[in-house]
């Protein structure tokens, strides 16, 4: 999986490309937690080019959400393909994670 990191204003954006599973979730976790420990309070994860997610990927998103909440920050998830979004729904994560349609919506929310 490829992770492209960008910064727009005070927002850290992570664009995921490929597959987020037990093999790739650790690398993503490190990058997210690096941003949090560097003081970022606004994170956006762009799922547009993500083809696959398993519970290992959900685990990282959940962990990061909890961590950034403790710092009074927020994470936004955007541009999910339907079947990726379905995994969040099955897990019940859509009830407490802010999932929005586009990157614009995510950025405007901060």
């Amino acid at each position: 999986m490829e992770i492209i990191e960008e910064k727009q204003g005070g927002i850290n954006i992570f664009k995921l490309n490929g597959r987020l599973d037990s093999n790739t979730s650790q690398g993503f976790e490190q990058k997210l937690f690096q941003a949090i420990s560097d003081g970022s309070k606004s994170l956006v994860v762009d799922f547009k080019d993500l083809d696959y997610i398993s519970s290992a990927g959900l685990r990282v998103i959940l962990k990061a959400t909890k961590a950034i909440k403790r710092e009074d920050g927020r994470i936004m998830l955007c541009s999910m393909q339907d079947y990726v979004k379905e995994v969040f729904e099955i897990a019940g994560f859509d009830s407490f994670l802010p999932i929005v349609a586009t990157m614009d919506d995510a950025i405007k929310s901060f």
Binding site: R19, D21, S22, N23, D51, Y52, S54, S55, A56, L58, R59, L62, K63, T65, K66, K69, D82, Y83, V87, I90, A91, G92, F93, S95, F96, L97
Partner: protein, 144 residues
């Protein structure tokens, strides 16, 4: 009609998840299955495979996990066999999936997802093997 069975073996390492994905893509193309269906069976098998590797083996030796796929009328039959310790996912407690972010726990989520994606789950312990038979309905209204 000829038997349309497709099977492959995975070694007990997490990086075999790529093999799982490649095999399922080949299988999907061969039998003209939708991208959504391949995604869902990949996810169900990924969760089982990851679970077997993480908790199934007491030793550090290499084990083999066998996967068999068989389209049958409007269903897809999947079978996953391993020689790990007995594990029946049907008995596995479903996590609370309607909780807040603070309460939400990740344990057991993979098995919950697998069960939700499959239409039928049947477990058997045969000798020293776990044999899990799964069924998934093939929807024909997909357009990809």
């Amino acid at each position: 009609m000829a038997t349309k069975e497709y099977s492959f073996e995975l070694k007990s390492h997490l990086d075999e998840l790529d093999q799982l994905c490649q095999n399922l893509e080949t299988f999907g193309k061969k039998f003209g299955l939708s991208k959504k269906l391949i995604f869902e069976i990949n996810l169900a098998l990924d969760e089982l495979f990851t679970n077997i590797i993480s908790y199934g083996f007491k030793d550090n030796q290499e084990h083999t996990i066998k996967v068999t796929l068989r389209p049958q009328n409007d269903e897809l039959c999947l079978c996953i066999e391993d020689d790990g310790k007995p594990f029946n996912p049907i008995d596995f407690e479903t996590p609370n999936v309607s909780c807040s972010v603070e309460e939400c726990k990740i344990g057991g989520l993979g098995i919950h997802i697998m069960k939700k994606l499959m239409d039928e789950v049947c477990y058997e312990r045969c000798g020293d093997k776990n044999v899990l038979n799964l069924k998934k309905k093939i929807e024909t209204d997909d357009n990809d």
